[in-house]
Symmetry: C2
Subunit: 335 residues, 2 copies
């Protein structure tokens, strides 16, 4: 397995001038799942997002003991805006490492590379695995696997996987969280950002990430993208084939009008279930849907309960919002 990236806490979460919560999902994820390690947030003027952490300047954060600035914002495409660089150089000068999940390597930016060399601080690119992957073999392997899939990007696949993993651990079931994106890796400190892998090796990377294990062990694998997303479906499919899940859980955000970043329609839950079964059978003939996880954050509680009950009845599957109502409905049938 991939070794940890050695990211030293506590963290200052940098969200720059993020304008919406979807773009800042890395920051929200680290705050949610590693709260004790988050000292504060660093925001630039015009930032429209609040992680709920104390606002700290970089100097304040350093004075309070922050050891790593985590870039908590993930613009589509993974580049790093020029206007952030001065803040990042300031962080290095103040003695912090920088950890990033962007596609672009921090060391490829001359000002950052020079500042890191000058200060002796580390630039940590969690999106880039040090492992050389191979093409997938497509052969069954022991151990149980669960993959979260979605109707879209940023609908709760990571939260759902982390919730199921925590629920299994509470019950004493051997389980491992397998991160496949930058935020998951920053939370779990290991994993593979599958969207940064060379396309030929995505399924192979997924096989490597969830290797043969004891028959009763569960790998709980964070999903990526959506099989219906025009930009990212190929990544989702490679991850599905390589993960060979016994069980998948569909994640959904019911107020989404179009898919993230494009004008395409949001698919129905039944479409996602049918397509995931159809495509997943290529590497696991026994694949089945283990439930639906709905992110109801934008609904009133009564409406959220109604939607969950209606969905469970309509599809004949366990349904919940893991953040609002807990994951037991989906986790317990796994035992």
């Amino acid at each position: 397995m991939s070794p940890g990236f050695g990211i030293a806490p506590p963290y200052l979460i940098f969200i720059g001038d993020a304008q919406d919560e979807v773009i800042a999902k890395t920051g929200f994820g680290v705050v949610k799942w590693r709260p004790d390690d988050c000292l504060g947030q660093a925001r630039m003027s015009g930032c429209g997002v609040d992680l709920g952490l104390p606002d700290l300047s970089i100097a304040q954060a350093a004075a309070n003991g922050a050891r790593t600035l985590i870039i908590g914002i993930a613009p589509s495409g993974g580049s790093l805006p020029e206007r952030w660089i001065a803040s990042l150089v300031e962080a290095l000068e103040a003695g912090l490492d920088i950890a990033s999940g962007l596609h672009i390597r921090l060391g490829s930016i001359p000002a950052l590379l020079a500042a890191a060399e000058r200060t002796g601080r580390r630039l940590i690119d969690v999106r880039h695995s040090l492992h050389n992957f191979t093409v997938a073999k497509g052969e069954p392997r022991p151990g149980k696997r669960l993959l979260t899939v979605g109707t879209d990007c940023a609908v709760g696949k990571k939260y759902t996987a982390l919730s199921i993993h925590a629920a299994l651990q509470r019950r004493g079931v051997p389980a491992t969280f397998r991160a496949t994106g930058q935020t998951g890796i920053l939370i779990g400190e290991s994993g593979v950002a599958v969207d940064a892998v060379v396309a030929d090796f995505v399924a192979g990377a997924a096989e490597w990430l969830s290797p043969a294990a004891a028959p009763e062990h569960w790998d709980i694998i964070e999903g990526q993208g959506s099989l219906f997303h025009p930009a990212f479906a190929g990544v989702s499919l490679g991850l599905l084939h390589g993960s060979q899940p016994d069980v998948f859980v569909v994640c959904h955000e019911p107020t989404r009008q179009t898919l993230t970043g494009v004008k395409a329609r949001v698919p129905g839950l039944d479409e996602v279930i049918n397509l995931t079964n159809l495509l997943g059978r290529v590497t696991n003939p026994d694949i089945r849907c283990g439930g639906v996880s709905i992110n109801t954050a934008r609904l009133e509680e009564a409406a959220a309960r109604d939607l969950i009950e209606e969905t469970a009845a309509r599809l004949g599957l366990p349904c919940t919002d893991p953040i609002r109502f807990g994951i037991d409905r989906i986790a317990e049938p796994l035992l």
Copy 2:
């Protein structure tokens, strides 16, 4: 569009110790589509494949005017066996450039890099585009597009696309062949090896490769892999979504028992057609199947004719073997 890679003919095709024709498909492709530029083949002892070219030592090829050694063998995974390096160094010393479609960059092999620097010869990696791709936009664009898809790898997707392109050109229809793999690029001298693109950008690379064009212009896009292949389906899906084809042609090799390199079953033509329609509709609601291209090289002619007629009748679609019987049945309905 991507500029040509500037590969100087005539070529010496190196197939090393290839043991089967599938592994040497790059060599066969260049010989088939650029016959006038192929001077000879270089084979190592134990090679079990014959491209039908004169056998030449590297010294003989250089003496006869060869200017580029093309690596005509594509092992799964794209590495370069240690045992070939001496031959490649000898080619550089003899004054030839080397062109490769392997995943590994020639310049990453110290002995080759040193020899190239010493001799002033070029190492040309056609698999690695110099363009920085972005995520796909998923928006419709003008111009007509045809994508070849397959039941498996190495079933005739490139041959079929090249045949359709040639047929349209003969009829005066504006058309461009869009190569998506190493052999296609070596034949067409431009294109993008989509399986070597970072996974997040595969669909975006496919959009870039077949850009907006005149309404009557056809891009004929070489397909990759198979939506049913456990290792490569993600690449196939990203290419399908980014290409937004109006028409796809399914390519098939009827004697194949299992998918290339894995133990998985070969899907039925009807399964491939249904799944391609289902997934392709995400970016082009009007996608349709334009026919079936069957590679009948391993069948007797009568059996080949029977299979083609039976398939055409069963599916209600044009069907042919473009190498054996020509592509007119599929190309003419496009006009």
